[in-house]
């Protein structure tokens, strides 16, 4: 214990000089004369107030009973838990007011476990507050500085004992140890870095609309792909897309056959996440962008469904206002203005997919996306 820092209750604290430029207590906003009294009196600890249980044996017995009751509730809760575990069927339901029909095991086991744990906790706290000694005790904080003897010993070990280990005399050991210590984290870092998977290469800029699989290392060549309904995987006739309709579209060959589950992309989710397209038909007179009209077919336009902000599916199409809303962060795109951002955090319009019709009247892609879909990334546009 450091006697210098400790002032016994009731004695006076001597004000010390302020250090450097720090604001002192008697500077700034001070009510009154602006000065401080010469000495403060240490108020010490508040007087000890005895509790009911300290004074009255009947109260103490009452507290004892309360604590015992709480522990008893815990015992009952645990026993009931064990009983219900065996007694209740997993599929059994029970009606709970305000909740409705719900799983009987969830309710029963949950309530019993709550009683079991709460009983112990509440009992222990109630015990400590009413019956355990509550005399205020001051424990001084230990000084951070080690004793002088310890400090001298530490220096002696470093210089003399270290000399015995010959680390100063044999530099080869010193340098190889340093090298080993410096290198060993590399193995851990390599494992973490290596487990991130292959580099994306061009796969962030390509989609299935480029002609087929577009994962890392793939080099798809463009061919017109039919626009298929998700999840039915059926081609879409241009004449079936009436004004006000919205179709959720995947490229031909990506989805497996819904009947047999055969075919489809090998990395289905990755391909789906890039290739999803929303197909809408507007009255051509409402479309204000020439490029949008030219890339569509008689007012049928196809846009990437992947938000340019952080890649959520932009699926909320309002057929009267022609707004496309992203449910994640409320980015709003105006379909009449080439999906320009009119609200929210997205910075780029949704990429448009150029479409046309084939000989049989089905909608097909006329070219792949001309820019990377989804959120921005460093190499985008290179």
């Amino acid at each position: 214990m450091n006697e210098q820092d400790h002032t016994a209750p009731g004695t006076e604290v001597t004000p010390t000089d302020g250090h450097g430029s720090a604001v002192r207590l008697d500077e700034g906003h001070v009510v009154g004369t602006g000065g401080l009294p010469e000495r403060f009196t240490n108020p010490g600890l508040p007087t000890h107030v005895p509790r009911m249980a300290d004074l009255d044996e009947a109260a103490a017995r009452r507290a004892e009973k309360q604590v015992a009751t709480l522990f008893g509730i815990s015992i009952l809760g645990t026993l009931l838990f064990i009983v219900l575990y065996f007694a209740l069927d997993v599929n059994q339901t029970v009606f709970v007011p305000g909740v409705g029909e719900t799983s009987a095991t969830n309710v029963g086991l949950g309530v019993c476990l709550a009683l079991s744990l709460l009983g112990i906790g509440l009992g222990a706290v109630h015990w400590a507050k009413t019956l355990m000694p509550d005399h205020e005790v001051v424990e001084e904080r230990h000084p951070m500085r080690a004793s002088d003897a310890d400090r001298a010993e530490a220096v002696r070990v470093l210089t003399e004992e270290g000399g015995k280990s010959q680390i100063t005399r044999r530099p080869l050991i010193k340098y190889t140890l340093g090298g080993a210590m410096a290198l060993f984290p590399l193995g851990l870092a390599l494992q973490v870095g290596g487990s991130l998977g292959p580099m994306p290469q061009k796969s962030l800029s390509l989609t299935w609309w480029n002609g087929g699989p577009s994962g890392p290392g793939e080099e798809p060549t463009f061919k017109p792909l039919r626009l298929m309904k998700d999840p039915e995987n059926e081609p879409i006739k241009a004449s079936d897309v009436t004004i006000g309709s919205v179709f959720h579209v995947m490229p031909e060959g990506l989805l497996p056959n819904p009947e047999t589950g055969e075919g489809g992309a090998k990395h289905l989710l990755e391909e789906k996440a890039k290739a999803a397209v929303l197909l809408m038909r507007l009255d051509p007179s409402q479309i204000q962008s020439q490029k949008e009209l030219a890339w569509g077919h008689e007012g049928i336009v196809a846009y990437s469904k992947i938000c340019t902000h952080v890649g959520c599916p932009v699926g909320l199409y309002e057929q009267q206002t022609h707004h496309l809303l992203c449910p994640c962060h409320q980015s709003t795109f105006d379909v009449t203005q080439d999906c320009k951002v009119i609200f929210g955090p997205a910075k780029r319009p949704l990429p448009q997919l150029k479409i046309t019709v084939d000989d049989e009247g089905y909608l097909v892609s006329a070219q792949p996306f001309r820019e990377a879909v989804g959120p921005s990334f460093w190499e985008r546009g290179q």
Partner: protein, 270 residues
Amino acid sequence: MNALAARRRHPAAIAVLLMLGLFLTGAVYAAVAPEPADATTQALPAQSVEEGKSLFRANCATCHGVNAEGRQTGNGNQIAGPPLAGVGAAAVDFQVGTGRMPMTQPGTQAARSKTVKFSQEQIDALAAYVASLAPGPSVPSEEAVDPTKGDPAMGGELFRVNCAMCHNFAGSGGALTRGKYAPSLKDVSGKHIYEAMATGPQSMPVFNDANMSPENKRNIIAFLDTINKQENPGGLTLGSLGPVTEGMFAWVFGLGILVGCAVWLGSKAA
């Protein structure tokens, strides 16, 4: 009264008083608030196009025009009511049958109402009149909307692709832009769900039979029927609204209980 007065400085007194005040305010408002006026005249059962026409002229023509040709408000390009030629009987049955029409007042969106202002015969007559103006989607048959004949699993897959982004994964509805919203699908009859898909009311896109076949529409109805009826093994659904209500619940009740425990731990025993 003495017992109450003695407890007036109890820590819970403010909370109790606040709750009491809020409850009283609500109760008084509920008692005093005016009932919405119902000016609809009860017409005789009508079955023909002619009677539908007279019903239309009495109840709908103010906004939709005397011959259902639509009307402008005269304020910019805002319309009072759209033209109804070609919307079909299904649109009339949906809009009037769910209490959305006649609208009581102009607004961002016509809200579903529990009080349907017309009998089913009157709605059928109105629908017959509107359908006679131009061909459009008709009211589906009982069989086409029978949830027991649909495949809920297929319906669920279709729902998640085509509907869930607006109507929420559990059909609880959600917000759209500028005050519009996708309504909850809980307790909506299969017929009205079918008609909404076929006609695309308000902000909703149209899902015609080429986009979503009648069988798939029935599958979706079967799916919604299934999730409407299933119990909740996990307990309180909090409206199935996702992280907003669940986070709110954790903040209010979870933190509230923790704060209560901390206060109790810190207080001295008597």
